[in-house]
């Protein structure tokens, strides 16, 4: 079946090495999975902290909020391509290498975490203040307010934030080819651009497009499933 498909596609896409495409796709998926996991683990608490310490919120802490906010803005304003290079020493410290999938994940996480944290903050702000007040009036602790009321109520918004972040990460992974990160984006640059093989470019673009579509559709379905309004 595979051989048949390859022989049919060969005249159309003469330069495409399907094995390499397969490896590149796996690299993209592992970079996406790994970086998304750490982005969620770091970004969710950071987003909650940004929300809670914000003006007129449960734990309004102007100094802390100012600091976190500044940090998030600085990281978000550094173009990802630059961040990749700036991060190299730290990446080597964390993973032992600045190359490949392992070398790409730290800069991806650092690039996406502030972005995701801001989206989480916004999703939490959408929760009706009355719900926080009602939960307080029930005698809930701050931890209970966050885990039993705020996060469940903001779940659709947080799922939408995860979707947007995952898609942003897909486009970031394409850039990590620059530092030898691997993946479909890397393939597109090396073969499609540097070796003038437009068929490789087209195949990687189509695969990235399919990946983004799958992410968006899954995200949308989850948002609808958990929306009760």
């Amino acid at each position: 079946m595979e051989a048949l498909l390859a022989s049919l596609l060969h005249p159309l896409l003469p330069n495409v090495d399907w094995t390499e495409i397969g490896y590149a796709s796996l690299d993209t998926l592992s970079m996406l999975g790994g970086s998304l996991l750490f982005t969620l683990l770091l970004g969710l608490p950071l987003g909650v902290l940004l929300f809670l310490s914000g003006p007129r919120q449960l734990f309004a802490q102007p100094a802390l909020y100012g600091l976190l906010s500044l940090l998030a803005n600085v990281l978000r304003s550094v173009p990802f391509v630059i961040l990749l290079i700036l991060m190299i020493p730290l990446t080597v410290l964390l993973t032992g290498t600045s190359l490949g999938v392992a070398g790409a994940i730290p800069p991806l996480v650092v690039g996406a975490t502030p972005f995701f944290a801001r989206l989480v903050e916004t999703a939490l702000r959408e929760v009706d203040r009355g719900i926080i007040e009602a939960t307080q009036a029930m005698g809930a602790s701050t931890w209970q307010i966050i885990t039993r009321a705020l996060l469940p109520e903001a779940l659709p918004g947080i799922l939408a934030a995860i979707t947007v972040t995952a898609i942003t990460l897909v486009s970031y992974t394409a850039m990590s080819g620059l530092i030898g990160g691997g993946g479909l984006g890397d393939l597109a640059v090396r073969y499609g651009y540097q070796r003038y093989q437009p068929d490789v470019m087209a195949v990687t673009v189509v695969l990235l497009l399919v990946l983004v579509q799958i992410l968006q559709n899954t995200g949308d379905k989850l948002v609808v499933h958990f929306s009760r309004k």
Partner: protein, 335 residues
Amino acid sequence: MIEFQRVHKTYPVNGRDISALQPTDLHIARGEVFGLIGHSGAGKSTLLRLINRLEEPSGGRIIVDGIDVTALNPEGLRQFRQQAGMIFQHFNLLAAKTVAANIALPLKLAGKLSASQIAARVEALLARVGLTEHANKYPAQLSGGQKQRVGIARALATEPKILLCDEATSALDPQTTASVLQLLAEINRELNLTIVLITHEMDVIRRVCDRVAVMDGGVIVEQGPVAQVFLHPQHPTTRNFVLESEQVDEDGQRDDFAHVAGRILRLTFQGEATYAPLLGSVARQTGVDYSILAGRIDRIKDTPYGQLTLALTGGDVEAALACFVAADVHLEVLR
């Protein structure tokens, strides 16, 4: 049950302190329905939130059932709040949780009951508020009145001693308001629950409250039993609320009465006297003729009352006035 001792509250606004509640003393008795009425910004919402310290007092002491609420540490405050239910104008239900899960929430937060005990309690509460068949719906699928019933069931889940109602019927239509107020009166009676409610509608006060305090500009300007405050308002703010609720145009009425001959008086009946055939017998005894200029016969909570404005002509008017006074009717001579 609830005691305010020189409690006051100020907010810093642009570097200056704005007073939301002037130093206030207040006593609310166990088992009564106490109403606070005032326009928005009068301080009633602040006063209500001071009771469970959703607002921190700037000074004074608040004592609820022997506990000095103002002295509680965070953990103590959490315990106290579990004994003080609260319902809200916009219900504040969790949209992501079912009706049953909303009602179970305070019990889960308190963490004192097992899952099966919580389920049994939720079932009983659903039955009390008449929502048994809606247990697995989400708040968005309910009408306003049903949402407030869920709010009430949720507030009662921890078997509190007091229930704080923040404009609980202001977002509801008149019919739904009546049924929610009836439910509140029922719980007050059956559970001997102390209820404090705030509203800007005199009608809400008239239907369920035992006593009322009228607020204006962060001060309680008048308080007392509802019948007394409602039928004999002293403060201009109170008079306005009463006139609003009765839809009486006082100035227009005065102009109309200018063309009427004779003495004009207002009689206020309460309780059984409301239904006594007084006017006819006084007219026969004293030979006066009466015409009714304005009137209203209604109930304040469970007590019937009537208020009539009469013009008396001919016969012995003074004797007629004496008869009314002798019959224990409150008499005001308007002209």
